[in-house]
Symmetry: C2
Subunit: 159 residues, 2 copies
DNA sequence: TATTGTTATACTCTATAACTATA
DNA sequence: TATAGTTATAGAGTATAACAATA
């Protein structure tokens, strides 16, 4: 499947390169009318998707970063009134991080901008192609992430 | 096209999150048997794709970073014998950065690892789905990058 | 004077280690 | 003693500004 695979990977790399640059994030936040750095946006977007408060450890795991990183950004987000920390009723060591109404609004606006970018890009596509893309992209994400996880576990088994 | 678009974006984000983490890069370089940081790999991979020496400015533009960033990594890659700097015959201010045989070999090995990851992930896919993915991903990369570029130029026209 | 690239510097993102408090 | 989170620190990644040399 050589050449075809190369083209897939190359196209994917192009997308990632563009979407990951600082300039792109600047434009995202400008369009969304928020002043947040990239980790901030990732955290509130995750909380919005989750639909309910989440613990620091869960956020870190979902974003695949270490917890001190989440702690720092949550602290700032709380100072700015975008999230609340509430003691976890089931475990006194833990906190639940909840979006405030302002935080949810900011998250919605950021997500909307990304959606708009994709929607504009896909505007000329046939309905069938859009459906195929959605199906294949989901399958790809699932399969790639699973295989990477397998190899990781295989290479360094937990004691 | 709401829900379907959301699923596409969410799947894409999942992929990017996983593939962008430091751990993933560690595994890439370990599997490839090289000791290079992420910008190093991006640069030699780009030179391999280009198939011929490229100027610092062109590398920076392609990777969408600023040139001092490229300069620093090229300097290190040259010290380690993976690239050469040769004066541009057409422009005495410029250099052409060329892969050495060792550099090309390292680039090939890195790219192979990524290809293997995708190939493993796609192993169970039908030939038709793989072809569709390749086609749609290329189109998506083209359209998203184009639209982002348009908006950028629209927002800040060159004087 | 404009452009190619470099040097110097600083900021953002993320990880590791050491610590506190609860379980 | 193990776990959830925090504080402190350090390293990777990247940008901006000031500069050199050539066009």
């Amino acid at each position: 499947m050589g050449a075809e695979l190369d083209r897939t990977v190359a196209a994917f790399r192009r997308l990632v390169t563009t979407l990951n640059r600082g300039k792109t994030h600047e434009r995202l936040t400008e369009a969304a009318g928020v002043r947040l750095d990239r980790p901030d946006v990732q955290i509130i977007a995750y909380l919005l998707d989750a639909g309910e408060p989440r613990r620091v450890g869960m956020i870190a795991e979902a974003l695949q970063v270490e917890s001190p990183h989440v702690t720092r950004h949550v602290t700032r987000l709380e100072e700015r009134g975008l999230v609340n920390r509430v003691r976890d009723p089931d475990d006194g060591r833990a906190w639940r991080i909840a979006l405030t109404p302002e935080g949810a609004e900011a998250a919605v606006r950021c997500r909307q901008v990304t959606s708009d970018w994709f929607e504009t890009a896909l505007a000329e596509w046939s309905q069938e192609d859009r459906e195929q893309l959605s199906r294949l992209m989901e399958r790809l994400a699932g399969d790639v992430c699973t295989h990477l996880a397998d190899r990781y576990l295989g290479a360094r088994p937990k004691p």
